[in-house]
Assembly symmetry: C2
Homo-oligomer: 320 residues x 2
Amino acid sequence: MSKADLYIPTYDDVVKAHERIQPYVHKTPILTSTYFNNLSGAELFFKCENFQKAGVFKARGASNAVFSLSDEQAKKGVATHSSGNHGLSLSYAAGQRGISATVVMPRTAPQAKKDAVSGYGAKIVECEPSTSSREEVFANVVAQSGADFIHPYNDHRVIAGQGTCAKEIFEELGELDALVAPIGGGGMISGSCLTLSNISPNTKIYGAEPKQADDAYRSLKAGYIIADDAPVTIADGLKVPLKDLTWHFVSNFVSDILLASEQEIIDAMYLIWQRMKIVVEPSSAITLATILKNKPLFAGKKVGIILTGGNVDLKKVPWM
Amino acid sequence: MSKADLYIPTYDDVVKAHERIQPYVHKTPILTSTYFNNLSGAELFFKCENFQKAGVFKARGASNAVFSLSDEQAKKGVATHSSGNHGLSLSYAAGQRGISATVVMPRTAPQAKKDAVSGYGAKIVECEPSTSSREEVFANVVAQSGADFIHPYNDHRVIAGQGTCAKEIFEELGELDALVAPIGGGGMISGSCLTLSNISPNTKIYGAEPKQADDAYRSLKAGYIIADDAPVTIADGLKVPLKDLTWHFVSNFVSDILLASEQEIIDAMYLIWQRMKIVVEPSSAITLATILKNKPLFAGKKVGIILTGGNVDLKKVPWM
């Protein structure tokens, strides 16, 4: 995407997205926990996107992108090279519209991931486990099929879709003092910024990022995008860097980015499973980890937390 | 409790219980799953008592018993010798009323169980790990304190409290074709029978029981209570036998008891965690296991399922 192509979505796009995707996604519940309120000293509201279709908030953005396509484009299908939650969500959304989705994945990807993506109906095309192979194979897929490339986060349709989550929080709870969302590529937090800067401008927005993949934190401090090559963290949804569109929102509307260590992420994940009886990913649990680490910042405040997803390998829970 | 003491609770007791406990328990959500609807061929409604206070439906019955006490009795406190979910729930309820609760537990009980019970504020009195020691120690506790013994299930106040769960299901969904609840001592299913026989008499009620602890199944077939000594099953909430009060409801209102093997229970538990992103106990998952084993019985029907609790040791998940 060149700078000239950079369309910055508006809150009107979020409203339209919400109408468009309503038949295909859940209005997820917001849970509270006396235990975590006591532990944090804040009043916490957990938006449970782990209960979302495909197990992750990305079903919102993917559905908005897929159902925004013209009939002509839709016939050619959609494609991506994300083998994680975006691949799942795009496969889900394409299935709902009855169009084809192609996901380019390294042949070395775990079989469980391949099964999950193909379980929602997408076609998997394998590449070698290298960036050059992935790009070559993906370019071939798009050239041959004419499929629309839907980027996991640097896409205005995706960001407008993710913005529907903060819209639901505001509609249910009114104005909050703060919202904490994980930050990886920045899709969810950009959608949240887009929505809240329009309808709840006094709500402070915090990103939660792994200490071991703190490129967004360093970007915010530096004032320009810093992209790391291959950070290693258990929060596997948060390894990717910001891009121009998400940087726009993060740099303009995020108050701060809070960091958590791997052990803090695991501890928070364990506590959420144990106390709230819900399954969340490390990339979700990091939000609570950063709040418990920064209690003075949130004490006495009403704080929304986006639990972004629940797609974990139950046979490899990290505290075992 | 002698036969002469046997007061059989009425639906009016359930209504009163519901008003009484409303400030202290959650109206838990009812979740649905497209995946499980497709898998079962039925329309399934999961009542999530794993989200209940203390992580289990027993907070209902315990709260009703505790808040039914006269002020005079309340001053003397309550006592039980259940170290599992009833101990937790009684401790929780007593804490809400600000009265003392004593739980007699074998000194060999896992520290985690002791911590959980004392975490809610109850006093633990240890006994030797034998029935005779437990009974002796418990009798001493009651004699010295005058505490009210609240039985985990064979108590009309407890059963009326558990009946509020089926009442909430009916109020939210209207008449169902069937309700499936786990059966151990029979407290939850008795409360469900009490409620539904009054307000939804066409709803068939099924118990779900471990094949390895099938005493309720054999009781229903025989026409009298059969109590096993020490059945071994992963569904640790379902090891106890029916007693006279629960037998009254089970023998009169339960259509059938369906059995599941240990592996079927574990498989269903895994599927619920994976697909619904919620943490449930083996004793809860058995409901889905029996439905998936008896698809023709439920095909095309609207079926309520009580997911009774979510108190599991996350460090010992059974598929690892």
